[in-house]
Symmetry: C2
Subunit: 302 residues, 2 copies
Amino acid sequence: MSEILVVGSLAYDSIETPSGKVDRALGGSANYFSLAASLFSKVRVVGVVGEDYDQKDYDLLNNRGVDLAGLSKVPGKTFHWAGSYEGDLNEAKTLKTDLNVFADFNPQLPEHFKDSSFVFLANIAPELQLQVLEQVKSPKFVGMDTMNFWISIKKDKLIDVLKKVDLVLINEGEAKMLTGAANAISAAPLITAMGPKAVVIKRGEYGFAMYTKDEGYFILPAMPIPTVVDPTGAGDTFAGGFFGYLAAQKEVPTIANLKQACIMGSMMASHTIQDFSVKALAKVTLGDLEKRLTEYKKVITV
Amino acid sequence: MSEILVVGSLAYDSIETPSGKVDRALGGSANYFSLAASLFSKVRVVGVVGEDYDQKDYDLLNNRGVDLAGLSKVPGKTFHWAGSYEGDLNEAKTLKTDLNVFADFNPQLPEHFKDSSFVFLANIAPELQLQVLEQVKSPKFVGMDTMNFWISIKKDKLIDVLKKVDLVLINEGEAKMLTGAANAISAAPLITAMGPKAVVIKRGEYGFAMYTKDEGYFILPAMPIPTVVDPTGAGDTFAGGFFGYLAAQKEVPTIANLKQACIMGSMMASHTIQDFSVKALAKVTLGDLEKRLTEYKKVITV
């Protein structure tokens, strides 16, 4: 088993959906990612929190064996995001973003993090993604995510990061925005042309579309979930399940492994959306995943 | 092989998409359906056209062995629809609807149509769907489509039709509108609760979700098509491929047949969208479908 280094946000989220609302519940890409990935592999977190960060939120990851040596606590408040979802829950409306301690985030890797084999650069400023990547000695497999904000204001820097990664995990809307393509299918090869060998386009309730330079498209639907309580963190959970599965395999990622990783990410994300914040995700066991996978196979089997 | 009776529109469409435009090109649900279904099975059309309906458009179906005895030509002009698509082409903007001869459509079945085993009630007024169904003696399998217009103004009548059919093929947006559900997954069982044993929700570029009372969900993505030229008729083509395949099987539709029918409908629709009007569809051969099916299986195979 190889270690996965993740850099991303640790946050408190205030979320409203048709199912209800939560105030300052645990969130952030690094939290969702780590909870998902740690079911399969050792995870190392690089991030920053404020003085208000709750001990039980540290413990949640500590208890899963996640290495928090790269998590600094600094004066000030933890990153806070407030958003709401309506109707089909496909898009969040951001009500408030308080960067707080995240505004001066300067990611420094503890010495023992620098030999990490797998690296996931969650959605943070492209310069910081590069800064982290430069500190890792010889990663075996590097993935990244991004968002519309960075595509609109730091596209050049973002393209520099794209050149250095093996895989991009990105939302459908952001894949179209990044490439100017009309749909995910035409966006995918334009993204791999920017550098990465593979791209996984996350399509929310519709599942995912992976495209690899070597093998083309691999596309499957999402697990059917009648009631989506809160879609926040589904994409980061997908990435966590994906990387957790990959890092637990013996070989350098093969196409077959990448396909299984997509499915594992998708199964994991199908849990996250069934409750607010990390509530459902934190309870998922390998047994739950196995069971859902069996149901899923029935759904997609001809 | 059993005969399929289809009632629907025969039209001339004026369409504009990012790929270009066509004026008064052949369209209408019955045309798309018949072209697709006739690759597999005998098709009988019930519909109405005006004096401007071109002989070559009759010939297109005649040459495929489609029985046009139920197609009446009456004084006036053929139904005309004008629409445009933008961006991701997921939704048509209707610019003009001239019902013309369609306004007084009074579907009467020729005597030899009344023993049809398979019936497809394409998107027309629910009363007319019922009127057609009442003239068929003992159909083995009946399917229907509908649209937002009928859901908003004739929902009660529509629900009467739903009680009498085996299967509904419906767009995702319309499935949500009909049921008030937030997504296709929760809409599906609400639709089968209205009567039909099965519902196939058409999700455009995302594929389809079938739900049957007996076996639950069967969901697959669409064939990846990088450049969608014109999505008009994709849903009717899906229905045509679906029914054409079903009617060509020996057994009364089984779950396994319904699943294959979905895939066949989807492969057929993936051709339709690659050119304007029926241009691509009219050229598709069983060999083309076989080839595309092989490519598709590669895309969805783990």
